[in-house]
């Protein structure tokens, strides 16, 4: 799966959790999930679970803790998908 496709899927996943929908529409890889998209921090665990389901991967807690931006998530997913 190429980066663009992973990025698009990530936006789909984040859509339901994002308070600032306008920010999501113009999101780029460097956008911070909590600060820029205003996702509630408690919901990050749900975002990770959804990523696991959508991409068929397992994200360890230590890896999840390092995700700050959409790009961080895309990189981890890309790595997992090989």
């Amino acid at each position: 799966m190429d980066d663009k496709k992973i990025f698009e899927e990530m936006l789909n996943i984040l859509r339901v959790y994002t308070k600032d929908q306008a920010a999501l529409e113009k999101a780029t890889l460097d956008k911070h999930i909590l600060d820029d998209l205003k996702v509630n921090s408690a919901r990050l665990v749900d975002v990770i679970i959804k990523c696991e389901d959508v991409f068929g991967i397992t994200v360890e807690d230590d890896e999840a803790d390092k995700i700050r931006t959409i790009g961080d998530a895309v990189n981890i997913i890309k790595q997992k998908l090989g």
């Binding site: 959790y17 408690a42 919901r43 990050l44 665990v45 749900d46 679970i49």
Partner: protein, 426 residues
């Protein structure tokens, strides 16, 4: 000095109607909300009939966005929809998502009897037992915590006063209203959303089925199953739903020109101590009578002034005892006994939501001046027969209805009684 407390908004999700207009119509028509529930037959329940709000999934989806819906189980759904309806009915609008204002004068008391059992049964237990606890995600705690309903409602309206959830079995909804009434009366809040809710789940009803306290003889004729005060009553019909009332300090209600449904003039809560004939499951008659008298005394009226009773009256062996307790507490003989009806005859016993839904029924009756029929008691129980003429069998116009007493009793031998007064502009 005590503040006067009035009701300025109501919302209801009952088994026989959603919304005040529909609910009033259902009450007037004696419309039963009891239906056959195929899942209970499949699960081999003795009682296969229940009162559950119809098509509520669709209703819930029309109120909340996808993000919120993921954290709204059955119980919280009934509570939240009722709260939104009540808030709007009181003349307020729901704050926008980006509104950062806190309303420090408004609080919430929203109770449940058992609550988020569906989430526990369908998510928590299986995933934990399978060793997949991580898959529970972030949304379980807020749905199973006892304060899940009040927490959700508080966030919806930005409530900054006391936000809590009470629980006192089948007395829960009444007790929430009384606690909110006291909070405003003593000046601690100007406005409270108060009520109760209960999810629709076989995991809630199972325990009652096992106790054989619910109706097992009317699976073929659901609408006839809930039979308070009847000689052929054979246990209560379980129900689900929710209702919320907006209680408000009279001064603020008048200042903003709010429509006033009724005044709450008295309330009492007590326990029979599980002594003197009382137990975990049965009320001590002395406790019940004290509670009724305390409520009437609190209202500062004479016992003789109560015009109507909306009873607890569940359709168990306890109904004749309850009627006797009312008669003794109010010192009224059959010929001057107040009119008495049971909303449970129409909707079943909605447990933690019962008191709240029935308070809405009580307030609608006093506001509109009518008494709804207490259905399925054409064969009045022999011990209640002397009072038969006081039980409306069809809708009765009653414009002179001024004081109505509403009681609720629950497991744990807990009692509650509220006295509503017709609002009369001076």
């Amino acid at each position: 000095m005590n503040k006067r407390v009035v009701i300025t908004g109501m919302g209801v999700a009952a088994p026989n109607a959603h919304g005040l207009n529909n609910f009033e119509k259902a009450l007037r028509e004696g419309l039963s909300g009891i239906r056959f529930h195929p899942l209970l037959a499949e699960l081999k329940f003795g009682c296969q009939i229940v009162g559950v709000p119809e098509d509520f999934e669709t209703i819930r989806k029309s109120y909340f966005d996808r993000e919120k819906l993921m954290s709204i189980n059955d119980n919280i759904g009934y509570a939240s929809v009722s709260a939104v309806d009540a808030w709007r009915d009181a003349g307020f609008s729901m704050p926008d998502a980006d509104d950062d204002t806190v309303d420090w004068d408004t609080g919430v008391i929203a109770g449940s009897g058992i609550g988020g059992m569906d989430t526990i049964a369908l998510s928590v237990v299986p995933l934990v037992n399978e060793g997949r606890v991580r898959r529970l995600g972030s949304r379980v705690v807020e749905q199973v915590m006892n304060s899940g309903t009040s927490a959700r409602i508080g966030g919806l309206i930005g409530a900054g006063n006391k936000v809590t959830s009470n629980s006192s079995a089948c007395s829960t909804g009444n007790e929430a209203v009384i606690d909110a009434f006291w909070r405003i009366r003593t000046g601690l809040a100007k406005r409270m959303i108060a009520g109760g809710s209960e999810g629709a789940s076989p995991y809630i009803w199972g325990g009652f089925d096992a106790m054989r306290v619910i109706c097992r003889k009317f699976n073929e004729n659901p609408a006839a199953g809930s039979r308070p005060m009847s000689a052929t009553a054979c246990g209560f019909v379980p129900g689900a739903g929710g209702a919320m009332l907006v209680l408000e300090e009279l001064e603020t209600a008048l200042a903003r020109g709010a429509r006033i449904y009724a005044e709450i003039v008295g309330g009492a809560v007590n326990s029979g101590g599980q002594r003197m004939g009382g137990s975990m499951t049965a009320p001590n008659p002395e406790g019940v009578k004290r509670c009724i008298r305390d409520a009437v005394n609190d209202a500062a009226i004479d016992l003789a002034q109560i015009d109507a009773i909306n009873g607890h009256l569940t359709a168990t062996y306890a109904d004749p005892i309850e009627v006797r307790n009312w008669a003794e507490a109010l010192e009224r003989a059959p010929d001057n006994f107040p009119y008495i009806n049971s909303t449970k005859s129409l909707i079943g016993h909605c447990l933690g939501a019962a008191g709240a839904i029935e308070c809405v029924a009580s307030v609608l009756q006093i506001y509109r001046g009518f008494l709804h029929p207490s259905i399925n008691c054409e064969d009045v129980h022999p011990e209640i027969a002397p009072y038969a003429s006081k039980i409306p069998q069809s809708c009765m116009e009653f414009p002179e209805l001024k004081y109505l007493a509403k009681a609720g009793f629950g497991f744990g031998d807990v009692n509650s009684c509220i006295v509503f007064k017709k609002w009369e502009e001076k």
